[in-house]
């Protein structure tokens, strides 16, 4: 008997699922396991969970928890936690990241643990940060529910969360799907989010001036969570390149790559290591 074979674990298969029309964009889910049926069950659970969270955070669905919030209300913990994070980062970035979008000021007041009061300001949106929060939550849910799934990748509209023991390859792309990625990195229990104006035009505004920003057409951030990567990539699209690199440097376990209007790339201190990791990633 081949003694090596006796110690070999059966190799898991990466099952991938691709959907459109999720949070207004496309979604890809990858679950590595031994059983196609398990992967399908996990996919179904993930999609249901995404739909539930969308009903809380959506700015487009008039019946979502967010859109139904008027005045002072008790809010569910999923929404409360994202509101608290958004407010922390609004203050930390001095308004470069702000749910108000066209103004850097507070949009709500926290009265106690789960009670919030909407302030009399123009409507705000949690679109950027909520997408990352949903990606994190879904990846975490599947990780807890199915220990037999050894590797998880959840990607919704370019916000990507990787959970598992493996190093996973992720590409950073600027626009065309078919074009080669700008770079490829390796991620293990990390997340990445990319902001840019290539696809939807000049939609990112500096809340401090209300003007569209054009100086950094592409920002890609790696962080410990997709929610954090989302916030940082949005803030770094607004801040100058130097301010952005300083912000990332002061945020633990975060890295970034920025591309300026001339096409020049700027990388944080640890970004190159992420690129080196891609070589052994799967």
């Amino acid at each position: 008997m081949n003694i090596l074979k006796a110690f070999q674990r059966p190799k898991t298969i990466p099952y991938q699922f691709h959907y459109e029309g999720i949070l207004g964009t496309s979604a890809s889910l990858r679950f590595d396991c031994l059983d196609a049926d398990l992967a399908e069950i996990a996919c179904k659970l993930a999609l249901e969970h995404i739909a539930q969270l969308e009903n809380i955070f959506s700015s487009y669905n008039p019946n979502s928890t967010l859109m139904q919030w008027h005045g002072t209300q008790t809010l569910p913990c999923e929404l409360a936690s994202v509101l608290d994070n958004a407010e922390d980062w609004r203050i930390r970035t001095r308004g470069a990241f702000a749910p108000g979008v066209t103004h850097p000021n507070a949009c709500w007041e926290k009265l106690d643990e789960s009670t919030y009061k909407r302030l009399d300001v123009p409507p705000f949106t949690l679109n950027a940060i909520a997408k990352g929060a949903i990606v994190d939550d879904v990846a975490h849910l599947i990780e807890q529910a199915y220990p037999d799934i050894t590797q998880i990748v959840v990607n919704i509209g370019g916000d990507l969360c990787v959970r598992g023991r493996k190093l996973v390859r992720a590409g950073v792309q600027s626009s065309d799907d078919g074009a080669s990625p700008l770079t490829v990195i390796g991620l293990c229990n990390q997340a990445i989010a990319t902001s840019g104006n290539a696809r939807r035009g000049l939609h990112i505004r500096d809340p401090r001036t209300a003007q569209p920003v054009t100086h950094t057409p592409l920002v890609s951030v790696v962080a410990t969570s997709a929610q954090l990567a989302d916030v940082l990539s949005t803030a770094c699209s607004v801040l100058t390149i130097q301010e952005s690199l300083a912000l990332v440097a002061s945020t633990p376990e975060s890295e970034a790559m920025l591309v300026d209007a001339a096409g020049q790339q700027f990388k944080s201190a640890g970004w190159k290591q992420l690129e080196r990791q891609a070589r052994t990633a799967c």
Partner: protein, 164 residues
């Protein structure tokens, strides 16, 4: 005696196949099964550029595709890829895809300039099967062909262009 030298594919060019799928009613939907493949004038397969199918299901339509069989590693790459499903970019418009042919054949060798047939084959779960085929002369002149839609595809464009 005449010596005819055939010119190699100009590396400054690429063929971009862009298509938009028709969103079925009812919110989210699965990405369709798609094959984008190139044949030469004689109908011989030159390259399978892109192939999306669901691993673990016996997709019946796959047998109509020539040249789809690959080894395990390549199959992973074709199936949306560990790269394509792990791509981080600005939020993309749902249902619109662009696939690029770099002029290499399945063996990885650069082909000669000339006449090819570009195929876009699509099959949707709980939908229909459609094939769009177009002959194109791919040399050093940009060519753009807009194609009429069908029951699965809203619109498609085959564009031979300078690399972006």
């Amino acid at each position: 005696m005449w010596f005819q030298t055939s010119k190699k594919w100009d590396s400054a060019f690429e063929l971009a196949i862009t298509f938009e799928v028709i969103a079925p009613a009812g919110g989210r939907y699965r990405r369709p099964y798609v094959a984008v493949f190139i044949e030469d004038q004689k109908g011989k397969p030159v390259r399978t550029v892109e192939l999306w199918y669901q691993r673990g299901r016996g997709a019946r339509w796959l047998r109509d595709l020539r040249n789809w069989y690959r080894g395990e590693v390549d199959r992973m790459t074709r199936e949306g890829g560990d790269l394509a499903s792990s791509m981080s970019g600005p939020t993309r418009q749902p249902g619109v895809y662009t696939v690029i042919w770099d002029g290499k054949n399945d063996a990885g060798k650069v082909v000669d300039q000339g006449d090819f047939t570009v195929n876009l084959e699509i099959a949707r779960e709980h939908g229909s099967y459609q094939l769009i085929r177009k002959d194109m002369a791919l040399t050093t002149k940009p060519v753009k062909i807009d194609l009429p839609g069908n029951t699965e595809i809203k619109s498609a464009t085959f564009e031979f262009r300078k690399k972006r």
